[in-house]
Structures are given as C-alpha cells and as structure tokens.
C-alpha cells in the first residue's frame, strides 16, 4: 500500500514477491519506453519533487477505497530512461477479478493525466521534444 518515485530501475519480479497475499486476484501493469517514431533513443522524465509521491499515494488510497483493494503499489521513475527500460508499474490486489482489473486501469488513467510528470523524447541527434498530452487520455479519465 504505497507509492514510490525514483530514478533507479525497479524489478517487477521482486516487487511482486509476497504482493497481494490473501487476495483472490492480482493485476499488474508495467509501462516500458517504446520508440514509435523510429527516431527516439530515450525519454527524459521530469517531475515535481514533493508533490509527486504524495499525489500518487492519494490516488492509490482513493482507488483502494473505491475498489475495495486489499493491496496496491505504484512505482514511477524519472530521469533519463533508454528505449526498452521500464518506466512505471501499478499492482492491485482484490478479492475479485473485476475489481483488480478496474483499479489498475483506473490508476493508469489517473497517472497519465494527473500525476506531475512530463516526458521529453530524446532523438538520436540529442535534440529533445516535449511529449504532448493526448486528448484520449483525458477522455479515458472521464469514464470513471
């Protein structure tokens, strides 16, 4: 039942050890840096120290109440992340499958649009471009 913000890599496998004991269903989501354009070598992720960890903990606790979670974990990285590196993970544990799925989905929608992170795509030539927020992410949040 906690959120962490860190520049260091995390080990999804290690994080899952012992997670959700006593639950009936555990869902994890892991996001990985992906080069869609063919021009990108890395992401640089800026965040708002002080606010970030508290915001993630708030969203996690809100989701825990809303979906009756027995456990949850959020890890989000910042700094320089090469293509192929893990960016973040969410894990949710609940008595029933639907709640665990929905809570993970819900947390991802919150993180996409409401967690104070900003991504910059770093190209092969070293130039960087800020990633624009997607209207579809904002719409996804309105589902809940």
């Amino acid at each position: 039942m906690n959120a962490r913000v860190q520049s260091a890599p995390f080990d999804l496998a290690a994080e899952m050890r012992g997670f959700g004991e006593g639950a009936g269903a555990v869902v994890t989501f892991c996001g990985i840096v992906r080069d869609d354009s063919g021009r990108m070598t890395a992401l640089e992720i800026e965040h708002y120290p002080g606010m970030t960890e508290r915001a993630l903990n708030d969203y996690g606790q809100e989701a825990a109440g809303r979906f009756d979670l027995t456990d949850w974990r959020i890890i989000h990285r910042y700094g320089h992340l090469a293509v192929g590196e893990q960016i973040m993970m969410v894990a949710t544990a609940a008595r029933h499958r639907r709640a665990a799925f929905d809570a993970a989905d819900y947390l991802m929608d919150w993180l996409k649009s409401r967690a104070p992170f900003w991504k910059r795509e770093i190209a092969h030539d070293g130039s960087g471009e800020w990633v624009e927020a997607k209207t579809s992410d904002e719409e996804a949040l309105a589902r809940w």
């Binding site: 708002y48 915001a55 649009s113 409401r114 967690a115 992170f117 927020a133 992410d137």
Partner: protein, 83 residues
C-alpha cells in the same frame, strides 16, 4: 504575501528559471498569472496560451479561480504526461 513560483517542462524553459520568489497581493491564480505575464517577454511567452497551462497550489492541483490566501507555493506546468 511571499510566494514561491515553480515552473516545469516547457514553462520552465520559456521563463528561463525553475523557480522564483515573489511578493504579491493576487487573490487568485488568475490574478497572479496576470501579474507574472507582464514581467518580461519570457514570462509573457510562458503564459501566452493558458489553455496549455496547468497549476498546483501548495502541491495540490488547482484552477484559475483557486484562492491564494495563506498559500506558499504555486506551480505552473503543461498538461501532465505520466504513466
């Protein structure tokens, strides 16, 4: 009142600094933005399109009508792109 103003991502780049401390009597974020935008051309560029600017007051998401009384820290940034 004394306020710490923080800027992130391209707002930080346009303003040219990550934070500044100011004295203001602004009642709301909207008033504060009006004050900051006329400081110089860099601030003007940062606040040129408010539809692309989000903000937080004391590390809680806020909007233009949020009251500033008693606040200590205001942050401006583009729409977030986490996850």
């Amino acid at each position: 009142m004394t306020l710490d103003i923080l800027y992130f991502a391209w707002l930080r780049e346009r303003v040219g600094q990550p934070r500044e401390r100011i004295e203001t009597e602004a009642a709301t974020i909207r008033d504060l933005v009006a004050e900051l935008a006329v400081r110089d051309e860099w601030h003007a560029a940062a606040f040129a399109d408010m539809s692309a600017v989000r903000c937080a007051v004391d590390q809680q998401l806020a909007d233009l009508d949020t009251q500033l009384a008693g606040s200590r820290e205001v942050a401006f940034f583009p729409p977030m792109t986490g996850g």
